[in-house]
């Protein structure tokens, strides 16, 4: 029995090690390519282990590329501002929805639900932001469209308030004379920290990884985030290899070398990989709560 058990556990562990390697090894290809000397890379191709180790790609990024530094700054700024505003707006919207005193509660709930069922899609959205709000080539374009708040987060947070904040606590605070805003920030907020952290991580991850808003609304290179820079490199590579570039201003010299491209991708994911282990439980919680309905 125990021997049989141990074999079973061994096999299971082995399978999971394989799955984990499958999940993580592709990143190793990226990392190793960014750490390989350029000439070797061109000759031998991408490999899981650098046959000739070199930090030249990173030295180049540190030294000359103010574009990368700027892109990093924009990504960090947009992520911070967007996440803080998004968390605050979600929190402020979800709390009243959980309260029986809210007038027209059913209407407001439907108002949120309907955004999860139906949407205008890209064409009207794009036209509204560019033609009515003139958002093109502004920092607003990276913060506001689509990412600030969404129905799923609101519903997730509302369910949390309904199930985890005892009504008596709110009543007691109100009898003590606290106004609604004081109740919210002094009683409810401290109890909601895990939920706020979960939603904050979900929002923050989407901001950090977002490249669509740059694709739709940004043409000014000064406003390129890290993801937008990576995205532009792909377009240019494609443009060059398609042969349309002959005789145009584009040339291979304008493109970062292969190793540098991979290095940009690596520095784009490193902050996520560094933060993630510490917040893993909040991520898992968000997935579990949001998964079925999301």
């Amino acid at each position: 029995m125990t021997a049989k058990h141990r074999i079973g556990q061994g096999i299971l562990n082995f399978i999971f090690v394989l799955l984990c390697v499958a999940a993580v090894a592709p990143f190793l290809l990226l990392l190793s390519s960014s750490l390989t000397e350029e000439a070797t890379l061109l000759r031998e191709g991408y490999n899981f282990f650098p046959s000739k180790f070199s930090l030249e790609s990173y030295a180049y990024l540190m030294g000359s590329a103010s574009k990368i530094t700027k892109g990093y700054g924009i990504t960090v700024f947009v992520t911070l501002v967007g996440t803080v505003c998004g968390m605050l707006m979600t929190f402020l919207f979800a709390y009243p929805l959980s309260r029986r005193e809210l007038p027209h509660r059913t209407f407001f709930s439907f108002f949120v639900f309907f955004t999860m069922l139906f949407n205008g899609g890209l064409v009207p959205t794009y036209m509204m932001w560019t033609q009515t709000f003139h958002i093109r080539n502004t920092l607003w374009a990276l913060i506001i469209p689509g990412l600030l708040m969404n129905g799923f987060n609101i519903i997730m947070m509302r369910s949390f308030f309904n199930s985890s904040i005892p009504n008596e606590l709110i009543e007691a605070a109100r009898i003590d004379g606290a106004g609604e805003y004081r109740v919210l920030f002094q009683v409810v907020l401290p109890l909601s920290k895990p939920m706020i952290a979960t939603i904050g991580l979900m929002i923050g991850l989407r901001y950090w990884n977002d490249w669509t808003n740059s694709l739709y609304y940004i043409t000014d290179e000064n406003l390129y985030s890290i993801q937008a820079i990576l995205n532009t490199i792909i377009s240019n590579v494609q443009f060059l290899s398609s042969g349309q570039a002959i005789g145009s201003a584009y040339s291979a010299a304008n493109l970062p070398s292969v190793g540098i491209r991979m290095a940009i991708a690596v520095i784009g994911i490193i902050p996520i990989l560094c933060i993630y282990p510490f917040f893993q439980k909040y991520f898992v919680k968000g997935i579990v709560v949001g998964g079925v309905k999301g």
């Binding site: 556990q9 562990n13 399978i15 999971f16 799955l19 984990c20 499958a22 999940a23 993580v24 592709p26 990143f27 290809l29 990226l30 390519s33 061109l42 191709g45 991408y46 707006m89 979600t90 402020l92 919207f93 929805l97 005193e101 639900f113 069922l117 139906f118 949407n119 205008g120 899609g121 890209l122 064409v123 009207p124 036209m127 033609q131 469209p145 600030l148 708040m149 609604e180 805003y181 919210l184 990884n209 490249w211 993801q227 990576l230 792909i234 590579v237 494609q238 991708a265 784009g268 996520i272 990989l273 993630y276 893993q280 991520f283 898992v284 997935i287 579990v288 998964g291 079925v292 309905k293």
Partner: protein, 314 residues
Amino acid sequence: MAKTAAKPSKKKGMKGTSRTSLALVSMMIPGIIYLIINNYIPMAGLVVAFKQFDYAKGIWGSGWAGFGNFTYLFKTRDAFNIVRNTLLYNIVFIILGNIVAITVAIMLNFLKGQTNKKVYQTLILIPYLISMVVVSYIVYGFLSMDSGFVNKMIMAFGGTAISWYTQAKYWPVILTIVHLWSGFGYSSIVYYATVIGIDSSLYEAASIDGANVWKQIWHITLPGLRITIITLVLMAMGRMFYSDFGLFYQVPMRSGLLSSATDTIDVFVYKALTQLNDVGRSSAAGLLQSVLGFIMVLSANLIVSKVDSDSALF
């Protein structure tokens, strides 16, 4: 006397309530404004699909086109292609994705030991955290013609290098692998949350009765997962007309030669709008997606609410 005493108190109560309502509603103002602008105005803008759009006149000023944009869309081969691709990829993703996720969740449940379990959960979730742009760099590292890892392997074993980015026939498989790779950790954890909720005394009773692991899975775990599986599959079917824009736009590196196998409705709407400058077909495809998507979500939800009302969205 009693009347006058009652009156002010009632008034005070009323005032208290209305102040409460006012405060609660005031909290929602930023969110209401945002949802109106970000979600509701574009819904109204869907009318552009019935217009002969002219940038100078805007959506409301442009003349009507009736169903002209739709007939134009369906005259071209693109319409058939993008709808077929979107639906087929979704069907394959739903079937394979759920099989993989359920298998991993069940294996995770049978695994003993807290530390290794946590390490595995942490690692398999990593691909989900990465943007599709970066994923497309990784895929390029594997599939690049001259220096990709896969071609180097093929050549090391004496084969000839394959030009992955110019041959459409490989891409249904490649995109399915990339999709499974990036999403399996996420969906496994969703299922795992349900699996650990199954009463463990059921397993004990079964093993006393002599049921082996396979029988336990068949008679306890899978029935326990039934409602979650139905819910997740139906919800995914509700999104049948949508696709992961990043996966289909970024990962094939925008290679025009692949578009017959990689263009979905979302990719087409974007390309037609920004590259072909064809607002008519783009908005027609977008409207179809929104309306069909709406019908699918409503029907899926209707069925879910019959199966298990707690899992339904409304």
